[in-house]
């Protein structure tokens, strides 16, 4: 793993050996300063992990795994707000909310993003590659609150008009079906994580040697068959890494989902058929950002940090997984240069 990290760095200049010949080092103070900046930058994450986990300990001490397995969130927050001794938080609804939005967005990202990546890497006419790439880059720089605003004022009313009928609101009266829903959450999240996936997937396909493709075409394979049989398979680990990076972003997204997904810790019921997608959900990250004021209450603060700990460790796991996938990809490609 670290081996791969070392390999992803371009080789050093040969004159390093000459430089190390200095036995008396007049630069020592500067070097110490630079080293301390490096140590600080590398170690500050430990401070974050330590602090977040420490704040989360009380909620796990009170509830154990019940915190993760029970379903009682919005009501528990209200109770804890008036009664400081109330500790019965059940975070399962918001955990499931994060899982459903993330998995949903990953599925659509895979379908839509693979198309875009194949377009950019293989099929697009040369004139269109530049503009399309600029568009993808622009999309990755748009603030999440802007995604939320457009989702809220375009997609939420659209979904309400198109899919929510009066009969439905009567039949499922206990959940508000006002357009703010899992469906809009997935749509908005898809466009937010798409650029990251497309960039990495395109780069992976581009780094497949040209000779593979030429060989396929020379054997009389169609262009499409060459792509699906000879370009995509060797690029798969890279594509997987892109998907993992996209997942990491989806899990941590707070603002846009808090605006479009309904902000109710409701668990959509698969028994409702397709209404499942029209029900509101709430994710872990958006819960934290919506309850900044409630952090003043000790028990709520600890419950929020419990969610923070979950987010922290899932993002940690995802970035390590992405690292492994990149290492696999580079090994397979026999590459010395990184693709990031």
């Amino acid at each position: 793993m670290s081996d791969a990290a070392a390999r992803s760095i371009p080789p050093r200049s040969p004159n390093r050996i000459v430089e190390e010949g200095h036995h008396l080092d007049p630069d020592r103070p500067v070097r110490i300063l630079l080293a301390s900046a490096t140590i600080f930058s590398g170690a500050v994450v430990l401070l974050i992990v330590f602090f977040v986990v420490r704040q989360a300990i009380p909620v796990f001490a009170h509830e154990g795994l019940g915190f993760l397995l029970r379903s009682d969130w919005d009501r528990a927050l209200e109770k804890a707000w008036v009664d400081p001794t109330y500790w019965e938080f059940g975070a399962l609804p918001v955990i499931l909310g994060t899982l459903m939005t993330t998995v949903g967005a990953l599925v659509t990202t895979l379908a839509l993003g693979m198309g875009c990546a194949v377009f950019l890497a293989e099929l697009a006419p040369r004139r269109l590659v530049g503009p399309f790439q600029s568009l993808v880059r622009l999309l990755s720089g748009i603030p999440s609150v802007v995604f939320g605003l457009i989702g809220l004022s375009v997609f939420v009313p659209l979904v309400r008009e198109m899919f929510v009928s009066d009969a439905m609101t009567v039949k499922y009266a206990d959940v508000p079906l006002d357009g703010q829903s899992l469906l809009v959450g997935i749509i908005v999240l898809t466009f937010m994580i798409l650029p990251f996936f497309v960039t990495v997937a395109t780069d992976s396909m581009r780094s497949v040697p040209e000779s593979y493709k030429l060989g396929g075409l020379a054997l009389g394979m169609s262009r499409w068959r060459t792509i699906t049989r000879l370009v995509i398979p060797p690029a798969l680990p890279g594509i997987l890494a892109g998907l993992i990076l996209a997942a990491a972003r989806a899990v941590g997204e707070a603002i846009a989902l808090s605006m479009v997904a309904g902000s109710l810790s409701n668990v959509p019921s698969p028994g409702h058929g397709l209404v499942f997608f029209l029900e509101p959900v709430r994710t872990m990250a958006s819960t934290i950002v919506e309850n900044g004021e409630a952090l003043a209450v000790h028990s709520i603060e600890s419950a929020m940090f419990g969610l923070g700990t979950l987010l922290l460790f899932s993002s940690l796991a995802l970035s390590l997984a992405a690292r492994l996938a990149f290492a696999w990809f580079q090994k397979r490609m026999g590459m010395t240069g990184g693709i990031r």
């Binding site: 004159n15 600080f40 430990l46 802007v146 375009v154 603002i255 987010l311």
Partner: protein, 319 residues
């Protein structure tokens, strides 16, 4: 036998048409949705943008008509950008130089610093926000925000522009370091050899030769960091707070009030959009669109600046 082969041939021919059709459809959907979003935002946003809207003070009001302009959020975004970069850039330049020029690749320090930075880059911004709020609520750190009134006499309020900027600086640190390091590395080895041949010490060579040569790349890194600061909402909501106006002093832009402004709370363009959108409490959608329009213009300008710098960089290398 013959029939089966014909069937696969037909299937392959069909796929050779359907496959590319799907690819083009995906690209078309993405382009259509993006263009629609951008045009919608520009049409809605342009309605709100007037000199009065941009330059008059934000007023706390439930009514959209009397809620004033967006001078405070513009000021807030500016403060966060300047302070955030002020905290990040020195540390990032130092760490990037050390990682690119000094440290041995296989050393424990290099490996653990890289791992730490990679993990840091993956931490969601809400987690940074809640961490910052809890950390700076410690009574010992009260001098960076203000004393909390009411609840606990000892606790600090934990929210201020200074606090927000420190947390933001740590959030963007790994991204800025990464781009800076790549650009310092991409300075050709001959430059280092030439500096050494002139009798410069290693540090003199870095200061006089390497850093000037890497400057467009270093500026690119700073602009990328700036984009992250301007676009972030979660850290700002949690560590600078949800009030739309500056809470420090009424005439916050006057130099004698800067201290009070920085130690108190306010809003940035992103939190203004978040709270004034139909999802928030302010309920001033037209103004939210105006501010969002301005945000996207800033992001566009930053993108153009990066593209321009990239071009000059490539041009220099060719010479």
């Amino acid at each position: 036998m013959r029939g089966a082969r014909d069937e696969t041939t037909i299937l392959r021919r069909v796929m050779a048409i359907l496959g590319p059709a799907w690819v083009w459809a995906c690209a078309a959907v993405v382009v259509a949705v993006c263009l629609f979003g951008i045009v919608y935002l520009f049409v809605e946003g342009a309605k709100a943008i007037t000199p009065d809207f941009l330059f008059s003070e934000t007023l706390p009001s439930w009514d959209e008509k009397s809620s004033g302009g967006i001078r405070s959020p513009i000021g807030g975004t500016f403060i966060m950008a300047v302070l955030g970069l002020l905290f990040t850039v020195p540390v990032a330049v130092a760490a990037a130089i050390y990682l690119a020029e000094y440290v041995k690749e296989e050393s424990l320090l290099a490996r653990s610093a890289r791992l730490g930075l990679e993990v840091l880059a993956g931490v969601p911004s809400v987690v940074f926000g809640m961490w910052g709020l809890a950390l700076f609520s410690l009574p010992q750190l009260a001098f960076l925000s203000s004393r909390a009134s009411g609840t606990d006499a000892d606790a600090a309020f934990g929210r201020s522009f200074i606090v927000g900027a420190i947390v933001m600086a740590i959030h963007i640190l790994p991204f800025v370091i990464k781009v800076m390091e790549e650009n310092i590395r991409s300075v050709p080895g001959t430059y280092r050899a030439a500096a050494a041949a002139l009798g410069m010490t290693k540090w003199q060579g870095i200061k006089k030769v390497i850093l000037p040569a890497a400057r467009p790349g270093l500026i690119t890194a700073v602009i990328l960091g700036l984009g992250l600061i301007v676009g972030d909402t979660a850290i700002v909501t949690l560590t600078v707070g949800g009030s739309m106006t500056m809470t420090g002093a009424e005439q916050w832009w006057l130099p004698q009030h800067w201290g009070a402004t920085l130690l108190n709370t306010g809003s940035t363009l992103t939190t203004f959009v978040y709270h004034q959108s139909p999802a928030g409490e302010g309920n001033a959608p037209t103004k939210a669109f105006g501010a969002a329009f301005l945000l996207v213009l800033i992001v566009l300008a930053l993108n153009l600046a990066v593209a321009f710098l990239g071009r000059t960089r490539r041009g220099e290398q060719r010479v």
